[in-house]
Symmetry: C2
Subunit: 216 residues, 2 copies
DNA sequence: GATTGAATTCAACAAGCGTAGAATTCAACA
DNA sequence: TGTTGAATTCTACGCTTGTTGAATTCAATC
């Protein structure tokens, strides 16, 4: 499954010079390594080894580790439109509350091949690298904030941002506990159980009264 | 403010040989560095420099970086009893819902001197080090699970663990977004606002029906 | 004041890191 | 077939890391 193997199996194909599949193989390998070990933990040498390639080649294609990270993590921004659409309206069963649907959509995205690695890499690195933290903030703004703005209660921009941040905090906490810290009960739960348990809270963040703390 | 300064200012005190304040100074410095940079990012040399001490001395006292980390992060386990008590019952104003009180207590703990560094160091390192992740899991079990068990609805142990994990995910997500990712709206919000916004969701996790997703 | 044992410093090792540039292979084209 | 330019490899630099052991300082005890 290395890049050299694939080149060998492809043999003399119609590719023009300067375009084997290696460049993409490196990017994919980088996503996996960043997802598993974070920015600092992932080494260029390990990325190259996983792609079956010389370490210097990584540098030749992407210039520096930081640029490679940016290129690898930019992956979710492409299907983010898909995510946003899924979060907002389409593909929602009639009568299903929006909060429940958002939880289900997020879980589906996090378990789909490319997005999973990019998102986990971003989250793993965000706590140690300010650059990664900024990228994650931007990603959240691109996805959560937009979809919240189209469905939120108050029209006040500040309040909408507050609601979106609350939703993001619950979603990130879920991803953190389920996929990275591997809290038993959350890791074992099904998407349906989690949607039923967490969805109503999301709905409250979306349209509920956030100033009523439930005092008797 | 280095250890040597303090020894100099203390002069010939009544301390017995082998007990300057250096050992504790190193531990405190380590907590700060681990909190700011995580396990991998914090270097023994930086820890020693911040304590005004030779790097080898760190090793002389604590043996290895891993043992130093364990010693520094064990700090929260001491006031964890305090935290648990605060989360459970005492110091709660009459009529204030438990969820709101838990949020307020957590915020207070995270902003108090020693706990803040230890907790953030644990959280920052948990995503890159499996050892730190295990320590964080244990810490959560020690604090959240116990206090939830004493107030949760169902007596089923599995369901109680599920409820506790949900609460932990929301709390960790809040800490993540507010203190580390620095989401504007959450970082700027007051403890009261956050308690009012998040508390009711915690109450639902504590005693609500988690199988009703709010379907119309 | 000599002794003792802990605290502290010094210098250095081995390993791993990101990065760089020269050398080489190789596929397409004239 | 020889040329060309990109892909790929080799070797190595400079730096930082955790760790180690020997040497040194220093406060308390006899």
């Amino acid at each position: 499954m290395t890049a050299r193997d694939s080149r060998g199996s492809l043999g003399r194909t119609g590719r023009r010079a300067g375009d084997s599949g290696t460049r993409d193989a490196i990017l994919e390998s980088a996503r996996g390594q960043f997802a598993d070990h974070g920015y600092d933990g992932a080494t260029i040498r390990a990325i190259a080894a996983a792609a079956g390639v010389d370490p210097a080649l990584v540098h030749h294609f992407y210039g520096s580790k930081e640029r490679l990270f940016a290129a690898a993590m930019q992956f979710p921004l492409i299907p983010s439109e898909t995510i946003r659409a899924a979060l907002a309206d389409e593909s929602r069963e009639p009568g299903e509350p929006l909060g429940s649907h958002m939880v289900r959509s997020a879980l589906a995205a996090w378990e789909s091949p490319g997005v999973r690695e990019a998102f986990q890499g971003l989250l793993r690195s965000a706590l140690t690298s300010e650059r990664a933290a900024a990228m994650l903030r931007e990603f959240v703004a691109e996805t959560v904030l937009r979809s919240v703005a189209s469905a939120a209660g108050g029209s006040d921009a500040g309040e909408t941002a507050f609601r979106a941040a609350l939703i993001a905090s619950q979603m990130l906490g879920l991803a953190l506990a389920r996929y990275m810290l591997k809290f038993g009960p959350l890791a074992a739960a099904s998407a349906d159980e989690l949607a039923a348990a967490i969805g109503p809270g999301i709905d409250r963040y979306l349209t509920g009264d956030l100033r009523d703390n439930g005092l008797a």
